[in-house]
Symmetry: none
Subunit: 197 residues, 4 copies
DNA sequence: CATGAATGAGTTTTCATTCAT
DNA sequence: GATGAATGAAAACTCATTCAT
């Protein structure tokens, strides 16, 4: 491996360590020591690869977002039959989001955590803002083909993502049994796609 | 003032101080010192009124929830004309939630923060769980009269609250301009009530 | 009850509370609050009856010492047959000390604690010094009748008390089974009295 | 110096600092700050080398006990002529204990302090228990050769150490003049060894 | 006498970050 | 690059004592 890629690999390793830590404790209660221990590297070394705790967090957030964007691309390719048809695209995209994102408990935990940080951290907020905007636009690009009314389709796109994020949060906060998010989302998906078509 | 009410007043004063602090910093970064300063009381005294930081937080959460429940009761009373009709009740309740809760930026910030804490704090999670369950049930009690299908109405109630919480979160994270949550909610309300009727 | 005796009774009550506390925690780790709670009185009131924590401790020590001196007097009176004979007196005194003091686990704990405080607290040390000196002299007054050599009898008196205090300490620190202090003291008593006679 | 030995040296340095502090104040009144100041190191660093105050204390106790065990070994070697003869061994051991331990005022202070801590601290008690048991057994191993009766020799060994610890305590609590522990111990030693022979 | 609220200094411990090797 | 020792500030919490009522 080249110098550069060893560096990158190390950074990845540290970000994965942060990921593990965030599944156990909130970011503020996760110490550099914890992260270094999870990454099996020296505590001081962490500051060689990342300027400080915030820098690591920002890189981590970016890393997670890029990973899921890539996963989404792969998902689309694997279902490549019918991306032309808006209805089909929406169904496939919806499937992805539900199963890989909204119902992914680990990811939900981490994003709820990140929302909290974003409130008072401009850089984190900006990263989130971009990611959500992009996600909403991806949906909207297709939705507008079906709905025509641009304002309306934008509102629906936003509302759809807001709803999914709300369910994601509820899947962590509420009783799993009382909530049954899988059924709820499936039901919703049918209604939604039907209403479009 | 009686001894008892001095106690209660002081506790309220401290909880209000925490409220102010939470509008500036996340809970984990808010020190007991900060809260005491905001409450203009001695730092040690805070531990006289609350066992520890967590105890204060739990009391604060309860306090906020009770406050908004009381506000909702008042709101209903002030619009007392027509609570019999489900449609009217839903419209009035929706108005309250939108304007007093979902579009209340301070409250949104604080609840996003609390969601994050709830992930790893059982007691906080339990408080949230109860509050959301109660909220959902309040809606469902009325909704079931219109929809009949009990499972369906439950799912819609959950979905509705999830959507509102998602919008609440977006109103903090996304650009206010791009989002325009007031318009979005108004639009949604119309569609929603229409679809019921 | 007169004013004065109500006062005294309250003071006694507080000292008994300290006694209870000292059976659970070292003095330094016992807070005024703990003591007040054990005495079932208000925390502030404690400072009305005793100047401060040290004052309470000094009074408590005096109180315990006087109690055991009184108990000893009673004991002697109850065995009044034969205090004239030095051997008999020594036997009776030895019995008292063994059973009421050296083998009294609660008292042992408390005195070990007090020794520790005495090291760096002049007033406490002085109280202990007086009590031990008096005890040693009580023994010596009788012992010198049997032994004649005044220096020798003083040394034996000191050594005897030192030995008993050492056993008292061991009864707390060492395994009760391995130590068997009752048997050890009984054995010692026999040897000792025999050696005198 | 190697990494490892720097660690050990630092730990020793901190334990010596605790030693100095314990000659001025009881452990409970000695703050981490005091100890760090005495060791001339940063307060935070102390927690790098020892988990917490109790951990430091336990290590310190072990350190002192090991030091005196080593000193005793050296002492025996330096008097190597005659360890075969029980009488000679006892005399030499007795000399060591009297001069290096029982009459060592600093050590006496520290052990009285440790006794007090041991009452309510299981780990400290266990360390003391082991040390005293070992000391008693060392004496008993030789004593049993002279006395034959195993039970009797065990009782004498325990009693002997109890007596020495009692004298150690008295040397701190009582007037030095009235006590004259050197003379007392010398006298006792003669009587004791004579009684065996 | 009695209450409990108030004070403020002090305690242990944690931690992000820096630095010498 | 890598190590782990060092720093210093800050955190939560405790507590003896005082004071107004």
């Amino acid at each position: 491996m080249s110098r550069k890629s060893v560096q990158l690999e190390r950074r990845r390793q540290i970000m994965e360590a942060l990921h593990e830590c965030l599944l156990e404790k909130p970011f503020d209660q996760t110490s550099i020591k914890d992260i270094a221990a999870a990454a099996k590297i020296n505590q001081g070394l962490l500051h060689y690869y990342f300027e400080n705790k915030e820098d690591l967090l920002l890189n981590y957030i970016e890393y997670v977002i890029q990973r899921y964007k890539a996963l989404f691309e792969d998902w689309l390719l694997s279902k490549s039959q019918s991306l032309q048809d808006p209805q089909d695209f929406l169904r496939i995209a919806f499937d992805f989001v539900c199963h890989k994102i909204t119902l992914n408990r680990d990811l939900s935990k981490i994003f709820i955590e990140i929302w909290g940080i974003a409130i008072y951290n401009r850089k984190v907020k900006e990263k989130l803002r971009k990611a959500y905007t992009e996600w909403i636009q991806t949906i909207n690009t297709t939705l507008v083909k079906v709905i025509q009314d641009k304002n309306k389709s934008t509102r629906i796109s936003i509302g759809l993502v807001a709803f999914l994020e709300g369910i994601s949060m509820f899947s962590i906060i509420l009783d799993k049994k009382a909530l049954d998010p899988e059924a709820l989302l499936k039901d919703f998906q049918e209604q939604f796609l039907q209403s479009l078509g």
